[in-house]
Structure formats: structure tokens, C-alpha cells
Amino acid sequence: MEYIVSLETIADMEVGQTAIIREIDLSKFSTRMLAMGLVPGKEVKLVRKQPWDGSYYLNISNHFIGIRDNEAKLIKIEMIL
């Protein structure tokens, strides 16, 4: 597998894409994100998005999480090509 290094976040992902979580920006929600399984090194897939900047449906090793736009921007990823 090949990786390219970029500073993209989950908010930049297209529906159906998979990426590797690289970093969680430090915020009030960091520990909650980590505790819910959004852990650096894990694969994350953007399964679907609700219309009008709606929430994101993520799949992390068959564990599903709903997050908002501004939360997605805190999660740095590396797209899998």
C-alpha cells in the first residue's frame, strides 16, 4: 500500500473513502474522541454524510460513530490511495 503525506482531515474525505487517522488536534473533545475509538493509527471510512453540512457517519473497524463537521476538522488523516 502506498501513502501520501498531507494535512487533510476527515472533513476533506469523500463518501466511500478510507484513510488512516494520524493525529487528533488538541481540544476539549480529544479524550472523548480517543475513548470512542478515533485513535491515531486506525483506519477510518467515511460511510455517508447528511445533506447541508450534516453529520458524518464513520466506520472504524466495524464500530460506527456519528460526528459533526467541526469535529471532523479536528481529525488529521492520511488518505489511502
Partner: protein, 706 residues
């Protein structure tokens, strides 16, 4: 009294914790509050063989000891204080075996507190289906804990768990200074040492918890808080950074443990949940299905609840009549039947609707669907200053605002929670329905469209929609006015769909009904006595005069005894304190199209809306045995003495409908809002804005229509 040993049940949300608690304790549960906070505490006294009685406490589910939601905070509050009355002697930790890594994080933190722990790997069946293989011996050795496989749904493993509990309690293990899993860096370690000098701590990690949360810990004295504050400043302690470091370190160590003990085959995407969500969270089908479910919910409330409600109604009248006949004809009989029993009847009549609504809501919750509704509507709710989680409160509000407001505890952002509390009473609750039912007949002719859609039903639906719109509009206004930009988040787990555990559903419904009866009951009983006093007594000898006047009229017109009694009751209420109050407020309500008789009903129904119907029937001298159609006839004949036109023309009726739609005519809700917000400020603001909204809207409606 020797205090019992305490066992805490702790785990992540969706770990199946509640099922295990229910299996462990049976129906013998008590719901109370954790001291000082409005967080439900479920506990039970259970007997463990050869140990005796123990106190089992179910803690709210939390993801870590650094939580963000209000009710989750109880866990660190209790665990960071080894003198807390709920501080456990033993912890039963429930982990979902299909999500071991994530669920072990909190377990790992708790273990570092030095409290004896048993780790339960729950959902054994699902783990087997997925061929998840755990080398239990090595796993338990590496984590230095006892481990039990368990299935909370079937109860398999519970016996073994009890044996382990017995074993642990008998050992009375003082826990031989286990090495902590997490090793903080030198700076953090120094902070820990300093904190330990200030506060008595059982473990290093407890000191670290205090360092993180000291501002929210009530057991610390101001002096202690000040010293902790100084320590943190001295060592330039950055709580968020340390929390993230800690969490990452725990994960990486856990991953090492799991690597050598757990074999988990890669999962495929085509599981049940994944496929179901393709439709249920679809951008178009998702909301449509949600509204379909809502329709079904309302259908259930209104049609299924009708039979038990009629049954309760009839039983209450029979009891009243029976007591009236058997007991002496005196004031205390009247207080008992017209005051207390009528008041109690007014509460229990709503139990069927509330039970049915929460049966369906907790079914959907157990199924895993409610999280999807939150996910779907979060964005929309956000625009109105609410939160996706507000949807649960708003839907529950259709039955009763009391449990609905209590359900907002899951909303972690204070402003969003407050706005949800403030607007929920605008959603038409079941107590408005009897009022709507009486008034709609005057406002709308009995016409049918297309042969089956009745005009009255359309108006009723319109009223419900208007309530929802008003709630959203009010939310928008509060969003603009209220300050405090505390950031809010969604971050919601979308758990796997599973068939509901009926025992959990049943217990939830039972708890909701009990809390409703308890919350609404204590206020309505008091108020119904007050109302009985102001409508049974009048100034001076006015009541005697009224009685003799009525008797003279009755004699002249040769009334039957029943008719005479009804006339006396009506004359009496006119001359009572309530009647005087009604006349006193008449100038204020006249622009809305209301006369003093409606004024009396407005005053008596201030405590609870549904009282309106009862008061109207007394004022229009209708016996309690007559049905609503007689009442409608009488009301239709009523002529306004000033204008010479019928009182209940459609302008007044519409105006009154709108008034009851918006006005905060519910004392119990005010009390619950006071408790949930902790001050009188918010319920008073709520009462004021809803009353103004009701008055102004009714004024406009009446002035346009008349």
C-alpha cells in the same frame, strides 16, 4: 447500622451494563439520586451467598474518567473521593467483547485507582459468532484481574460472576500494591506527589484525577482547592495534554496485551447494522422513516391508551360516588372526593399514555434506533440552538413534559440543554388533549373532506404542528439571547442494532411512570386541595345566600333533585373565592374573548391544564355523571350577558385553544424545571414568556376572528 459492602457496576455506554445489573439484582431496584446532583442512581440490595447482603449500584455509562457529559461526571466524582458514601468496595466492570480495545480503556483507568475489580466480557454470543478468541488465562494475567465471560441478555455467566464476587469479597483483598498500568512523566508524577500531600489519596491515579477535576469536586475544601490550583500552576500542568498522553499510552500498552491474547478475524462490512443503516440513515429515507415512526407513536398514544383511560376515568367516578353516598354529607367528604380523589384521578388518568410512549421510546432506544435519530437531526436541531439529543425530549414532550425534561440530562452542552428544557413544554402534551377535544367542537364544524378526513381532526393536527413550530421558534430566540459559547459536540456512538431486552424496556417504563406519578403527584395533590378551598368557600355568608337562591329557583321551576344539586354547585362556585377571582380578572381577559366563568377555569387549571374540563362542567352545573356531549350542549347555550351573543362562538373557542396551546398551565413542570436547572430563574422566565406568548396570540386570534 453497619453499612453494607458496596459493589459498583461500571462500563461504557452500550456495553450492556444495564442488562447485567438487571440480571444480577432482579426487579428489586431503587431509583434515587447521587447526592448533590440530579443524576439517576439505580441501586439494589442483593444477597451474595456466605457474604450476606451487599449494595449494588449501577453507575451511568461513561467512556473514560475525563468525560464531557453531565451524568457521566458522577463516576469520577465518586471514584476520586475514597470517603464518598457511594465509593465502592468492589467494581464489576462490563466490557463489550466485540469492542475489547475501546472498552478496556476505562477499565484500565479504574484499575489504577486501586479498587478491586472484576472484568466481565459481555456479549459472549456475539463474540462467538464473530470467532473472537481470547486466551483468558494469559489475558487475565497480563491485565492482573479476574475475568468472566458473561451474556447479559441470557444471563449466562451471571452465576460464575456471583462466585467471583463472593471470592473477592471474602478475600477482602486489600489489593497488594499493584503496579499502576500508566506511568506518568516526571513532571506529572511531581504534581501527583504534591496533590497527595494536600488530599488523602488511595492511589497515584486518584491524585491525578483530583488534579484534573478539582474545580468540580465538592468534597474538597476551598483551602484544598487553592493548594491544588497552586500546585498545578507551579508545575505548569496542562490538563488536556496530560489526558491525551495518558490515553495514548494506555492504548498502546493495551494493544500489546491484546496482540498476544486476542484473535479477532477481520470484519466484513456487510453486517446487519451496516445494511440496515443504508436505509435508516439515508439522507431521504432516514427522515421519512423517522416521521413514519412518529405517526405510529401518536397513533399508539391516542388509540391504544383510550380504553385504559376510560377505565380509570370510570373507576374514579365510581369511587367518588361510592364515598359520597357512604360518608356523611360534610366538608371533609367533599375535600376527600372533590379535592384529593379528583386530584389523584387527574394524575393516574395519564399513566396509560405515558407508559405507551415510553414503551416505544425505550424499545427504540434498546434497539439502537434513537442514536440514529439523533445523528439524522443533529444538524437541523443545531440551527435552532438545540442538539440532536433534544429530539428525544421533544418527542417525549408529546406525552408529558416532566419525563421529557428529565431526559435532557444526556445533553452535554448546558446552553443546548437549557434551551431544550425551556421549549419542551410548548409541545402539546396529553393533558392538553381533553381541553382541545371540548373546545374544538365549538371552533370547527363537523365537516368531512373527501368523505373521511374530518375538519376537526385537521385542526387538532394543526394545533400540534403549531406547538412544534412555536417550540422551534422559541428555541431560535433563546439561541440569540442566551450567552455562553461553551462548545458543543455530537460525537455519538451508533451502536449495533440488537433486539431489545424486554426486561430493560419494562424497567425503564416502570421508572418513568413512577417518576411521573411522584413528580406530578406531590404538587397536584397540594394544588387540588387549595383549589377545593377557593372554590368551596366564599367571603362572608355568600355561599349560604347562593345555596338558598339556587333552591328558590329550583323550586320555582320544579327541578329534579339532580338538577337542583347541579344548580347549587354552579351558584356556589360563582360566589366562591374562585368566582370572585374570575370576576376580578375579567377585565384583563375580556380582550381575548373570555368571560369570568372562563376566568375561573383559567385560575383553577393553572396547576394542571386538564382541570379546565372539570371546572367548566361544575360552572355550567353539569353533574359528574353527564358526558361531554351534555357539557357541549350547555356550553353552546351559554349567552354572554354583555353582548347577548353565545359565549362559545368560534372566535372565543379558537382564542381559548391557542391560549391552552401556549400557556404554561402546569405546576409540576415548573417544579421539575426548577430542580433540573437548580434555580427559580429559569422556570420563572419560562412561565413569563409562555404566558405572554399565550396572551398575545389569543388576543390576536380573537381580535381577527370576532
Amino acid at each position: 447500622m453497619k453499612s453494607l459492602l458496596r459493589i459498583a457496576i461500571i462500563g461504557n455506554p452500550n456495553s450492556g451494563k444495564t442488562s447485567v445489573f438487571n440480571k444480577l439484582t432482579g426487579l428489586n431496584q431503587k431509583t434515587g439520586n447521587f447526592p448533590g446532583v440530579t443524576v439517576d442512581k439505580k441501586s439494589s440490595i442483593t444477597t451474595i451467598e456466605s457474604v450476606g447482603k451487599v449494595h449494588v449500584i449501577d453507575f451511568p455509562g461513561t467512556y473514560s474518567l475525563y468525560p464531557t457529559a453531565y451524568d457521566e461526571k458522577v463516576v469520577f466524582r465518586v471514584l476520586s473521593n475514597n470517603h464518598d458514601p457511594n465509593y465502592p468496595d468492589l467494581i464489576i466492570y462490563i466490557a463489550d467483547a466485540t469492542q475489547i480495545e475501546r472498552h478496556l480503556l476505562l477499565f484500565n483507568q479504574i484499575q489504577d485507582l486501586g479498587i478491586p475489580c472484576i472484568l466481565c466480557l459481555n456479549m459472549e454470543d456475539l463474540a462467538k459468532d464473530r470467532h473472537i478468541n481470547v486466551n483468558i488465562n494469559k489475558f487475565s494475567e497480563l491485565l492482573s484481574t479476574s475475568v468472566v465471560w458473561i451474556n447479559g441478555r441470557t444471563g449466562a455467566g451471571v452465576l460464575k460472576l456471583k462466585q467471583k464476587v463472593r471470592h473477592m469479597l471474602e478475600l477482602n483483598s486489600k489489593d497488594p500494591a499493584k503496579k499502576a498500568f500508566y506511568n506518568p512523566d516526571t513532571n506529572t508524577q511531581q504534581v501527583i506527589e504534591e496533590v497527595k500531600k494536600t488530599v488523602d489519596c488511595k492511589s497515584d491515579f486518584q491524585a491525578l484525577l483530583i488534579a484534573h477535576h478539582y474545580t468540580e469536586l465538592d468534597f474538597l475544601s476551598n483551602l484544598q482547592k487553592d493548594s491544588v490550583k497552586k500546585i498545578l500552576k507551579e508545575y505548569q500542568f496542562n490538563p488536556l495534554k496530560v489526558q491525551v498522553q495518558e490515553t495514548m499510552e494506555r492504548y498502546s500498552r493495551l494493544q500489546n496485551v491484546l496482540l498476544s491474547t486476542v484473535i479477532e478475524p477481520p470484519v466484513t462490512e456487510n453486517n446487519r447494522t451496516y445494511l440496515a443503516d443504508k436505509i435508516l440513515t439515508h439522507r431521504l429515507w432516514g427522515p421519512l422513516i423517522f416521521f413514519g415512526i412518529l405517526l405510529l407513536l401518536f397513533q399508539a398514544i391516542f388509540s391504544w391508551a383510550e380504553w385504559p383511560m376510560n377505565f380509570i376515568d370510570n373507576t374514579v367516578s365510581i369511587v367518588k360516588e361510592f364515598l359520597n353516598q357512604r360518608l356523611p354529607h360534610a366538608w371533609y367528604t367533599s375535600l376527600l372526593t372533590d379535592g384529593l380523589i379528583a386530584g389523584m384521578g387527574g394524575i393516574i388518568i395519564f399513566i396509560p399514555q405515558i407508559a405507551i410512549l415510553f414503551l416505544m421510546i425505550s424499545f427504540l432506544e434498546e434497539l439502537g434506533y434513537m442514536a440514529r435519530a439523533v445523528y439524522l437531526f443533529d444538524r437541523l436541531m443545531l440551527r435552532f440552538g438545540l442538539n440532536g439529543r433534544s429530539i428525544v425530549a421533544l418527542v417525549s414532550g408529546a406525552a408529558c413534559a416532566i419525563p421529557a425534561i428529565m431526559s435532557t440530562r444526556t445533553i452535554n452542552n448546558w446552553k443546548e440543554r437549557l434551551i431544550t428544557i425551556m421549549v419542551t413544554p410548548l409541545i402539546s402534551c396529553s393533558a392538553r388533549l381533553p381541553v382541545f377535544a371540548v373546545l374544538i367542537a365549538f371552533a370547527v364544524p363537523q365537516k368531512q373532506f373527501f368523505g373521511f378526513v374530518s375538519a376537526q381532526a385537521l385542526v387538532l393536527m394543526g394545533l400540534y404542528l403549531l406547538g412544534i413550530l412555536a417550540a422551534l421558534a422559541a428555541a431560535l430566540v433563546f439561541k440569540k439571547i442566551l450567552k455562553g459559547g461553551e462548545s458543543s459536540f455530537l460525537l455519538i456512538e451508533l451502536p449495533e442494532y440488537k433486539f431489545p431486552d424486554w426486561k430493560n424496556v419494562f424497567i425503564t417504563v416502570r421508572d418513568k411512570v413512577i417518576s411521573f406519578v411522584h413528580e406530578a403527584g406531590k404538587i397536584i395533590i397540594v394544588i387540588s386541595v387549595v383549589l377545593w378551598v377557593i372554590s368551596s368557600f366564599g367571603p362572608g355568608s355568600s355561599m349560604e345566600t347562593a345555596t338558598s337562591e339556587a333552591e328558590t329557583i329550583a323550586k320555582k321551576n320544579t327541578y329534579t333533585p339532580d338538577q337542583t344539586n347541579n344548580l347549587i354547585a354552579s351558584k356556589k362556585i360563582e360566589n366562591s373565592y374562585a368566582g370572585h377571582l374570575g370576576k376580578f380578572i375579567e377585565p384583563v381577559i375580556a380582550p381575548l374573548g373570555f368571560d369570568w366563568k372562563i376566568g375561573i377555569a383559567l385560575i383553577t387549571s393553572f396547576a394542571a391544564r386538564e382541570v379546565f374540563v372539570g371546572t367548566m362542567s361544575t360552572i355550567y352545573s353539569i353533574g359528574s355523571n353527564d358526558n361531554t356531549s351534555t357539557m357541549r350542549e350547555k356550553m353552546a347555550q351559554e349567552i354572554n350577558q354583555k353582548t347577548g351573543k353565545p359565549v362559545f362562538n368560534y372566535a372565543t373557542s379558537f382564542s381559548l385553544l391557542i391560549f391552552y396551546l401556549f400557556a404554561m398551565q402546569c405546576m409540576s413542570t415548573i417544579a421539575v424545571v426548577r430542580r433540573e436547572t437548580g434555580t427559580w430563574k429559569w422556570p420563572m422566565i419560562q412561565l413569563a414568556y409562555m404566558s405572554i406568548l399565550a396572551y398575545v396570540s389569543s388576543l390576536i386570534v380573537y381580535q381577527i376572528l370576532s
